[in-house]
Assembly symmetry: D2
Homo-oligomer: 298 residues x 4
């Protein structure tokens, strides 16, 4: 898989877990197959939507193994590595590479604030530990660490740090990053950005939970953007945006799991004490899927 | 001016003030003439960049009068109304309409938090007090009040509330607003958004301080977006974005005033205790203007 | 009044305003008389509770004049000066001194962020403009500027900056300030601190809105603290704290005005678009006043 | 240890870890012995200072085992339980009880926001899983979850939830909690509160990292507060506060570990990518320890 360029739509996979803690392997494999059939360009297990913060190592390892086996090399699988210590992150990254991951999505968890040097050291250590592309992931909403522009400029010089997945809502920040390190770092959007706008300014695609629910429409939007058919892209984008609006209102994992249940994937609930999607949320998701034509109307 | 639709580039004018408090009328009139010659579609005195929060009523009235006189009906002038009380805001709005303003940019200042009903009442009272279009202005960075989506939906139903100028950095929020109230409310971007991206999703233009410094380039970008020549638009947008990046780092009024001084407009410094643009900032602005070709190279 | 030391309970006066904007002079004078009879050591018009952010200059001047006249030299009157520009703050401070104010409570309003030098310049300019004691006022909840410890250390060296009134909730911060500049700056608490705890660590008293409603009990608490009768002080403090808890839930001005109406002072509502105290809030305030014995039981 | 009431000074133990990940057992045992000899009333391993967020289960288990063995029943040991899932928290709590812990310090980690019911369920599940006293721990600075007053009121009704350790800086909040649930929940302060002030309002003691460095002085302060000798207590409190001020400026674990190294305990550095205490910080800690008399002068 050397030399691969990541681009396009990478759904953030949910992590289907039985009440007793076992991974629902069959359901996960089915979901992986479904998404690949719909044309997604890659898959990312153990992102935020994948509840990486709620799983132990045995569960994480199993989820990555099942995803890799079900994907069977058809698309790159880029699992999330997340830890508070450098040592643990390096350990995870090596393990995923040994299992066959095409790249690493790297997340820094923190309890105490960390200085710039510590942040750079953490990500650089992950990048040195593997020989696959590393995607920096920054989510200022849920994490205690944000990747400032100066930190990103330093990390862009690390050879296999090649992508940034930005989960802020600040689209101008992405243009600033592209202006500063565009040659070294490609950009993926997350669900709070408008994918068509990010493609307009030079993004490579998006990694996001909602793509689990509307994979074909997401891929179609990506193709329209690549073809620079902006009128058609925006028309589709507006329809897809309603889905993002719903997700912005609820716990991301609860929402995607709830939506997948509606679509017939028995992925279960998010891990307690997270609440499952309530009836009102479920109705909103269902309505959004109906309007998109993902669910057949009555 | 009835029936006018606002669109395009509305520079936020600075407020040039002598150390003794008098308005530098000649400088302001020169700036207004310069911007109109460069093709801007409108002018907005007393926005954030116009230091509305630092001026007394006599100064505000004089600035609007000078702007209107210098514009001489060539473009619409939309001054900012800002107050903590409804009564004061209504008084200002009526005065500006009587002076000839084409519309009102309405800002809510607050000290204590205000409930949704209070926010709606404030803006609706301004709208009722005039018969010109009202532009809602929301700046979550500097104000204690943000306009939530439910508040915007209520205000969109008020007949002459016709525009929203959004100074958040969240471009997705603009698409959400357009999806919800697009028929009733048109969108203008502020300097933290990427204007080309906002035009792509359906915006009408932008109201921003940096347009004082690069009016011709801003108008050219607007025209490229209107013509849907997105490749050329993005090429120009990238060059213009460097200017926005500089401004994001400094006090907005200090930056635009400093840049205008470089361009030969003796607008002076922001009002103390605000600091003037320092030497480093001045060098950065100068470099950005050189790269844009606004300043002739050596 | 030269040489006076401020200490004890300084109620933050409300600003009673007619719907047409005139000051309700008789009501204000009655309130001043009532508070002085109950033993308060000073009075502060135009603090946060006094809605300084909602009044024009004519209203402010009238409120200070009426307060001074009604106080008739019996207690020091320390009005609030608040502005975004140094020039306006100096003008207000000089005017209040000329009218007879015993000191100045100095507040910095801001729209754009201001650097440390600007903050120091602002307060130092006020102090130089008058020859009375200046009280620094910092309220991180409602203002865009906070007074950091290094700024406070610089300001403590200005000769007539003599007091700090802290409206944070961080009592440890007060001990830190006393440790660093205790010789130069005395501390007053605001309503979010526990007055007895602030007295224990070396405070001089408190300036707060709730003291308008329970002046006798507040003065009694102050005396118990001064006498170091901590058991009795804490017993009274616990009863008084219920009042502070209620006020923490509502708009401060609305709450104190609502409570004063219950006590028979026709001070009216806060200025729109601020909402008056609603029925639930009114019931809570009434209950707190009943429990304190300020209102006679049924 | 049934029926024990927790009170007094509970130092938050650091977690001494070798670069290869092994627990430095001898150093930890020495520290435990030292603190007990100095008179502390209890010990809390795996609090914030104990870097619970940076350790794996094997390390955590070893730290609690070594602490229990070294304490040998002389004082209660109350280890921290922290997890994002209810299942993992319950597992940890049962394990610590089986090992001999006298109580559980319960922390909720979160990635996505959690509703009130989820928060209550999490802590109630821990309490049901053990038959020892549970201490609720809330640290709004580092965690994504805060325990609101309504949540605390619900949790106070759970039989063996008996204490709250509050790491906010808001001392008034503690008085509010005591007023509302004082019969059911006792209060411990953390290092951002002034311990003497918390004792004045009815607290039971404090759980804090700095007590590792000045255990004898901390115990002396506690005894003075219990004896209601407030003048002597405040005199000592002022001297001890300088230590807290230093710690407020640095990473808590780095600071306490650095201070213990100065005192001769080879506890090592915090886990990377956390930075060790730098030279400036080390000098500040050393100066604070000298002034306190903990370190002998030159």
């Amino acid at each position: 898989m050397a030399g691969t360029e990541f681009h396009g739509v990478f759904p953030y996979l949910v992590s289907p877990i039985e009440p007793d803690g076992r991974v629902k392997e069959r359901v996960l494999a089915d979901l992986v197959g479904f998404l690949i059939e719909k044309g997604v360009q890659g898959l990312s297990p153990l992102g935020s939507t994948g509840e990486f913060a709620y799983l132990d190592w045995a569960q994480k390892e199993r989820i990555v193994a099942v995803t890799l086996e079900a994907a069977a090399g058809r698309v790159p699988v880029v699992p999330g590595v997340a830890a508070t210590t450098t040592a643990e992150a390096v350990r995870q990254a090596k393990a995923y590479q040994a299992m066959g991951a095409a790249g690493i999505l790297a997340v820094l968890e923190a309890y105490f604030p960390i200085g710039d040097d510590g942040v750079v050291d953490y990500f650089a250590a992950i990048a040195r530990a593997v020989d696959r592309p590393v995607v920096l992931y920054t989510n200022p909403n849920f994490q205690r660490v944000d990747l400032s522009i100066p930190i990103i400029e330093r990390l862009a010089k690390v050879p296999n740090i090649r992508y940034l997945k930005d989960a802020s809502t600040n689209t101008g920040r992405l243009l600033t990053i592209l202006e500063k390190v565009g040659g070294d770092l490609e950009i993926f959007a997350a669900s709070a950005h408008i994918p068509a706008a990010v493609m307009l300014i030079g993004g490579k695609g998006w990694m996001a939970g909602p793509a689990c629910l509307a994979p074909a429409e997401s891929v179609r939007l990506y193709e329209l953007c690549r073809a620079k058919d902006w009128d058609a892209a925006m028309a589709l984008q507006r329809r897809l945006w309603r889905l993002n609006q719903v997700f912005a209102k609820y716990n991301l994992a609860a929402c995607i799991k709830g939506g997948l249940e509606i679509l017939g994937f028995a992925v279960g609930d998010p891990l307690p004490p997270q609440a499952p999607l309530d009836a009102k949320g479920r109705a909103e998701v269902e309505q959004a899927l109906l309007e998109l034509g993902v669910l057949p109307g009555p």
